[in-house]
Symmetry: C2
Subunit: 317 residues, 2 copies
């Protein structure tokens, strides 16, 4: 397949482009967690990023790269998650329109958040067909440019800036970890890691209940996500051709983890680090807890992807 | 009354003494919260302190000041809260014994935490009389030194180091805020604030349902806390003669706040700042929300006192 894949230079350029708009988030450590898991963990806190998730990096990169002509028509995406808010805010900061297609059953809090960032929310039936039809209709009517949540060169280049900052701040690590859903964060992370720390392993973590990336990776053939059912709601999506091809090339391992371990890992981070992370962010720590032999005494960098969740529905109540 | 009250020099000395043992916690800001309340807020994050609360500052100062003779006999306190864990860890770090008197109905998680830090937990009936009898019995039997949670010169000097760091990091602020329970944190905070920012106001916040400090302050006579019932469980205790006398001298205002506002303020900080704070820490923000005219457009420093709570029992579920 002949695809245009981002390389590290694209991530460096993205970083220069977006750094005045994003937070350079802190890297936190926690001795008591290190003791519990028997490794040294470095947490890149994208839960403290604007809109509460790494997604703002990619969205900002994509929006900053629009031409004047494209800006006049705005951007469009389909997402009920963090990308929706990220694109809405990135568009607002350039004073352009953002059309956000959301399923009619999206949580009210997510809809309100997108509206709060100035996004034009357009509802569709909660099916793949309705989503794509509605998106196409908006494009036809407005000429807005589609900014896909992860199947997008500029989005991936933007997401890679989180791992770049992590490695700049910490220096050598044995292992770099990210969760995998659609694969945008993992793609960008793996490109940065393999450039800056060629001897480090890139290990992804995925819910067992949504293990399409795990299955695709080890069978080397694309397998879509079917009826995923996980508390890590940011990780339900399938890979795209682009992210799958980068992951095949740059990632060393994908570890599937159980729901109970995700909840336990999330609670541990809340209790010990006193920070709010969403369930998707807890998946790498869950993988460490389930596979201690892989991580024993290693220096491990972990991207905490975000901190947006409904407090009314905690997995450990 | 002729009491030996700490002055700022004691806080400076405490700071030199404890700084190798404590975390210098970060000061965080949050634009979206500032917009909501119409003021500029600077949060001193003692939820990130060791044991998850400012209490470790005072406990470390008190333990570091023990003589060799005192060290050989250990320390004792009565507390079911953060001071229990703080004293246990401070004692462990000097390899001395800590006897912690806890009520028999203390939450299991608190008891386990104290034991985890190596404390010798001794249970008593959950009454004031039983607590004092048991404490005296331990002192008689072991010769251990009582380290009261707040009615203690060295504890107050240690707690004052949080406000000192906050002011060193931020510079000028119009108002410095802390919650008030027994008054140790507020005493130390007010001593630092009046020395370093003589033109700033010191405003305390207290749950209306445990407003003994408010009543004592405005009547200028000590009124104990009777049957307090608040989600801010760290603020149920009465002032002591020592803390009351410092507060009368150094504090400008005490604002009582409603339970609903405390829960709302806590949720706002969780949602917007992505950090875990305990209900007591939310009381100053609740006071700002209930009294916007007092804080409009001011630079306000707030001590977030801690981040220890049971996730099974959130006030906003």
């Amino acid at each position: 397949m002949n695809m245009n894949k981002p390389i590290f230079k694209d991530i460096e350029e993205a970083h220069r482009r977006i750094s005045e708009f994003i937070h350079r988030t802190p890297v936190l450590t926690c001795k008591s967690l290190d003791t519990i898991v028997g490794a040294n963990l470095y947490f890149k806190c994208e839960n403290f990023q604007k809109v509460g998730a790494f997604k703002f990096r990619g969205a900002t990169n994509a929006v900053q790269l629009l031409t004047d002509e494209e800006m006049s028509k705005g951007v469009v995406t389909h997402s009920s998650g963090n990308h929706a808010q990220a694109l809405a805010l990135a568009a607002k900061m350039r004073k352009i329109k953002a059309y956000i297609i959301m399923p009619s059953n999206a949580p009210k809090s997510k809809v309100e958040a997108v509206k709060g960032y100035g996004g034009n929310v357009i509802f569709c039936e909660p099916t793949l067909v309705a989503r794509e039809t509605t998106t196409q209709k908006v494009i036809d009517e407005t000429g807005a440019k589609l900014i896909h949540p992860y199947d997008n060169f500029n989005i991936i280049a933007g997401q890679g800036t989180a791992a770049k900052e992590l490695i700049e701040d910490v220096g050598f690590m044995d292992i770099i970890m990210a969760p995998v859903g659609g694969g945008g964060l993992l793609s960008g992370t793996s490109i940065s890691a393999k450039e800056l720390l060629p001897h480090a392993k890139v290990i992804a973590a995925e819910p067992k209940n949504a293990d399409d990336a795990f299955q695709s990776f080890y069978s080397k053939s694309f397998i879509p996500s079917v009826n995923p059912n996980t508390i890590a709601d940011g990780l339900k999506t399938s890979l795209s051709d682009l992210t799958f091809s980068i992951i095949l090339e740059k990632v060393d391992e994908i570890l599937p983890v159980k729901e109970d371990t995700i909840a336990e890992a999330m609670k541990l981070i809340w209790q010990r680090m006193k920070i709010i992370i969403e369930p998707s962010s807890a998946v790498p720590l869950a993988a460490i807890m389930e596979n201690p032999e892989v991580f024993a005494n290693k220096k491990v960098g972990i991207i905490l992807s975000g901190g947006n969740l409904d407090f009314d529905n905690l997995p450990f109540n």
